[in-house]
């Protein structure tokens, strides 16, 4: 088909604008990676834009060798795994139970869930409740309060209701209990939906810094995002590295003169960002589907 000159010009303009957008998204990561792989004192002179000028693993060695940072990563990984698994389980159980249209009191129960999506008590009453339940300063503050998500429940329920009832009825005729039906009929058919919701839940846990900053005061319980939040305003390396023997040994060597606060910060951020960058391409087909399942009106 013939296109007019103005349409071709428009197409070029759009391509340029969108290419610029892609660069603005990707460039900061390239820059931070370059800085984190460059000798800190050298990077501080400026001029490192795309790739390291004076390559070194020192920054990553210090970050990965530091017990405080390693511990924070451990907390993040455990809370992401436990939080995603328990969140999916509890939400899916409720969604399946509520998908039975003939369930007595179903409307009341749905209303009970819906109200929590429209109103909430706010931060302070929530905090007081965490205090009353002795969840403050405990690992479980990351898991228990977010184990049920009303929003995800409605998405799951809508998906389950869309599964042909004949499949469930034939399993019932075979004498399967509801739990059995959930496990061997519903779950296999809901994999894309579970993958999408699992992905969102996992990302939420991986990225949450707030709970670690305000509901926990024990440094041994903070996840890596809270560690990064504390590090953001750090003024010197000592506060970052703590008094860890391994690091002291490293720092006492030649490394001390070469690493800077900025190079360590960039290495830590990259370590927290790289897992997301790695899984992102594989999970992409699930999350678009996930957003769309959840968004259909009604």
């Amino acid at each position: 088909m013939k296109r007019s000159a103005s349409e071709n010009f428009g197409q070029i303009l759009i391509v340029l604008l969108l290419a610029l957008l892609c660069v603005s998204v990707l460039y900061p990561f390239i820059y931070m990676l370059a800085i984190s792989l460059n000798v800190g004192s050298d990077a501080a002179k400026g001029g490192v834009y795309l790739w390291p000028r004076h390559f070194t693993w020192d920054n990553f060695n210090v970050v990965l060798g530091n017990a405080v940072i390693r511990h924070a990563f451990g907390i993040t990984v455990i809370r992401t795994l436990v939080g995603t698994a328990s969140g999916l389980l509890i939400t899916l159980l409720a969604a399946f139970g509520l998908s039975y249209r003939s369930l007595p009191l179903r409307g009341t129960l749905l209303g009970y869930v819906l109200i929590t999506m429209l109103f909430n008590g706010g931060l302070i009453p929530f905090y007081i409740q965490l205090h009353q339940l002795h969840l403050l300063n405990s690992f479980w503050v990351y898991i228990v309060p977010t184990a049920f998500s009303a929003w995800n429940m409605f998405v799951m329920m809508k998906f389950i209701i869309g599964i042909p009832e004949a499949l469930i009825e034939s399993a019932e005729l075979d004498g399967a209990s509801p739990l059995r039906i959930l496990w061997s009929v519903i779950v296999p058919l809901s994999k894309p939906m579970l993958a999408a919701i699992g992905l969102f839940t996992g990302v939420m846990h991986w990225n949450d810094w707030f709970a670690g900053a305000f509901y926990v005061s024990d440094q041994n319980l903070i996840p890596v995002q809270t560690f990064l939040q504390q590090l953001l305003s750090a003024q010197d390396l000592a506060s970052v590295l703590g008094s860890n023997n391994n690091v002291e040994a490293l720092v006492r060597g030649t490394v001390l003169t070469n690493i800077t606060l900025m190079s360590i910060k960039m290495a830590t951020v990259m370590v927290s960002a790289i897992p997301i960058l790695c899984v992102y391409p594989f999970l992409q087909r699930y999350f678009v589907k996930g957003v769309l399942i959840g968004s259909v009106k009604g």
Binding site: F96, L103, N120, I124, P125, F126, I128, L179, N207, I276
Partner: protein, 297 residues
């Protein structure tokens, strides 16, 4: 009735954990709103602390509070003015791309920042803008200019928040619009082409009207969050130098409540902002009903 309930005992057992969790973490905090009218200290419960009437609402006479309200409104309005139309424009542009490989690439890349935390965003801003060794200031110095203290500046704070918010979410927010575009009947475009309509005319008269219902739903759904301007985003960027413009209702509640222990006052402020949010939802829903003939409920 009892027999029917017994028949569904498995289903009730499956729903029970959710009901208990909602009671503990949603309904109990709602009951805790009474703290706004009480003198609460750690050690009391929400039930046995003494009533103090409206004493906790004395923040309404505090000048600092009104500065915080002004800051919140500024950021809310700026974020809305830039953040609401941007994904619509981006979706329309992505839809115009002819090369499908590049189209998929743009989508993948633009969704990416949504998956990083606001802390990572704060680090990106720091690495770009800091005085000692930030990319932008190095660049300014190379050009012979005076470095700018972006991170601790009251003028640059709002643009920084709006721009970084756009950077993180604009791509993600196109998903709904792009999905709406795919549901438009292709015959409409064909008919338009037969009548000689160019790409621009097709976008204006078919694509854009086609996504308008989605636009209005997104508009309504964004209202309750309007004055919740994003503590996750703002708190990491706030420092003593930019606090005069950076302090918003959420950070004010956080400081008064969790950091200084004025639980009653902080709850009262939180209550006030929830009420405003609720009013915004109701007003928008009414307006949408008048314009579209239907609201969300």
């Amino acid at each position: 009735m009892l027999a029917r309930v017994a028949k569904y005992r498995w289903q009730y057992m499956m729903i029970a954990p959710a009901v208990i969790l909602l009671f503990l973490f949603s309904y109990m905090p709602m009951a805790g709103i009474q703290v706004a009218f009480k003198d609460f200290h750690i050690g009391y419960t929400i039930w046995n602390s003494p009533w103090v009437g409206l004493e906790n609402f004395s923040f309404l006479q505090d000048d600092q509070f009104w500065v915080v309200v002004k800051n919140t409104l500024w950021i809310a309005i700026l974020k809305f003015v830039f953040g609401f139309p941007a994904p619509i424009a981006l979706a329309l542009m992505i839809n115009e791309l002819r090369h499908s490989g590049f189209k998929r690439f743009v989508q993948s890349v633009s969704y990416l920042p949504h998956f990083f935390s606001w802390i990572v965003v704060a680090y990106i801003l720091q690495s770009m803008l800091t005085l000692d060794g930030g990319l932008v200031n190095n660049f300014i110095k190379d050009l012979g200019g005076e470095p700018i203290f972006f991170l601790g500046s009251t003028e640059w704070f709002r643009p920084m928040v709006v721009a970084s918010g756009l950077w993180k979410e604009v791509g993600w927010n196109t998903i709904l619009y792009l999905a709406a575009i795919t549901t438009i009947d292709p015959q409409q475009y064909e008919a338009a082409r037969v009548e000689g309509a160019g790409r621009w005319a097709q976008m204006r008269h078919i694509t854009f009207p086609g996504i308008l219902p989605t636009v209005s739903i997104v508009l309504i759904l964004s209202m309750p969050g309007l004055i919740a301007v994003g503590m996750d985003q703002i708190y990491p960027l706030m420092n003593p130098a930019n606090q005069p413009v950076a302090d918003v209702l959420d950070t004010y509640v956080l400081r008064n409540g969790l950091q200084q222990g004025y639980f009653g006052v902080a709850t009262a402020i939180g209550l006030l902002s929830s009420v405003i949010s609720l009013l915004l939802v109701l007003i928008t829903n009414q307006t949408a009903r008048k314009i579209n003939g239907e609201g969300l409920w």
